[in-house]
């Protein structure tokens, strides 16, 4: 496994080079824009997140204030305001105010390997592994600005390492992922879901399938976290890039697709 420190930028038609992180890392939570971004919790080893926070100005990444503790999972509406919610050791939230991280309320469920969207005052977290229950989960929870509440479970089979995007508690999509029949165990059979589902604030509904990625079931898992735009921005759309699919029972393959979803 080779990690990247580099960034890539997409302009709607082609990819180009961006700045480099302080270290090659696996990453997940990032918020902001292409020219004003905040990255937090990147991991330089196999699975452990770090407390590292970095900012991007469109050209250069620079170190910022560390998080209170290291976890995965988070969202935010800008580089100046982000929320780091649940996952790993506990369900305690951390809030970023453009200066430092502080601890906040706790999530209802401590979820990992799912998807998140929204802001520090209106967010959603969807599945797919319940740390507290040590099991796959389609659980969903929303933040109303003060407290988290359990919501309607997502109607997919438990599928970890999918991607999601949206604007928070009233609109969110979840795509792809892979089924695991036992926690952290070998996935058998290997199914990468092609299905996309949408939350409209009150229920989940099946949306248009993503393009067929080939392999055993046409779906992808563990690709780049799908980006989305904040609702009402006037430019709604999301991107899914790369990911893996399964081409046989125990063989997964690297993919390089860039897909755009609009609505």
């Amino acid at each position: 496994m080779a990690r990247f420190s580099t960034s890539r930028e997409y302009n709607g038609s082609s990819w180009g080079a961006g700045g480099s992180l302080g270290a090659a890392s696996s990453c997940k939570p990032m918020t902001g824009t292409q020219t004003d971004a905040l990255l937090f919790g990147r991991s330089t080893d196999t699975a452990s997140p770090s407390v590292t926070t970095e900012k991007y100005n469109g050209t250069t990444w620079s170190a910022s204030e560390d998080m209170v503790n290291a976890k995965r999972g988070g969202t935010g509406q800008s580089a100046a305001a982000a929320i780091f919610c649940c996952g790993d050791s506990d369900a305690t939230n951390q809030l970023w105010d453009n200066v430092s991280w502080t601890t906040s309320v706790e999530c209802t469920y401590n979820l990992l390997d799912g998807s998140e969207s929204g802001t520090t005052t209106d967010a959603i977290v969807v599945g797919m592994y319940d740390v507290g229950a040590s099991s796959e989960s389609g659980k969903c929870q929303t933040l109303d600005g003060t407290t988290w509440s359990g919501s309607t479970d997502v109607t997919l089979p438990a599928a970890r390492y999918g991607s999601g995007w949206g604007s928070g508690s009233t609109e969110h999509w979840h795509y792809g992922g892979i089924n695991y029949n036992s926690s952290y165990g070998s996935p058998t059979p290997h199914t990468c879901f092609r299905t996309c589902v949408r939350w409209d604030g009150s229920s989940w509904a099946t949306d248009t399938d993503a393009p067929d990625a080939g392999g055993t079931s046409g779906g992808l898992y563990n690709g780049s976290y799908a980006g989305g735009t904040v609702a009402n921005s006037g430019t709604q759309g999301a991107i899914y890039h790369a990911g893996w699919n399964y081409t046989a029972a125990d063989t997964h393959a690297k993919q390089t697709y860039t897909w755009e979803a609009t609505w």
């Binding site: 990247f4 960034s7 696996s26 976290y225 980006g227 009402n232 759309g237 697709y257």
Partner: protein, 71 residues
């Protein structure tokens, strides 16, 4: 949800001819939310680039940022 609304402040929708002097034919959205119902996602291919798993991303289709990850 709009189709479930029958009245606003006790006034039947069919009796409302305009809002701030705009007739219904000229009102496309409230607070950026269009009246047209959600029609589902449309997917398109946007080319290819280096495979990366567990990368972080943010931005829009026209200005998208991806960093880190592994291959």
């Amino acid at each position: 949800m709009a189709n479930e609304i029958e009245k606003v402040n006790s006034i039947a929708l069919t009796s409302i001819e305009s809002v701030n002097d705009k007739t219904d034919a000229n009102i496309q959205a409230f607070n950026g939310l269009e009246f047209a119902g959600y029609g589902g996602l449309t997917w398109a291919t946007g080319g290819t680039d280096t495979h990366r798993s567990s990368a972080a991303t943010t931005g829009t289709i026209a200005a998208f940022l991806m960093t880190g990850g592994y291959t």
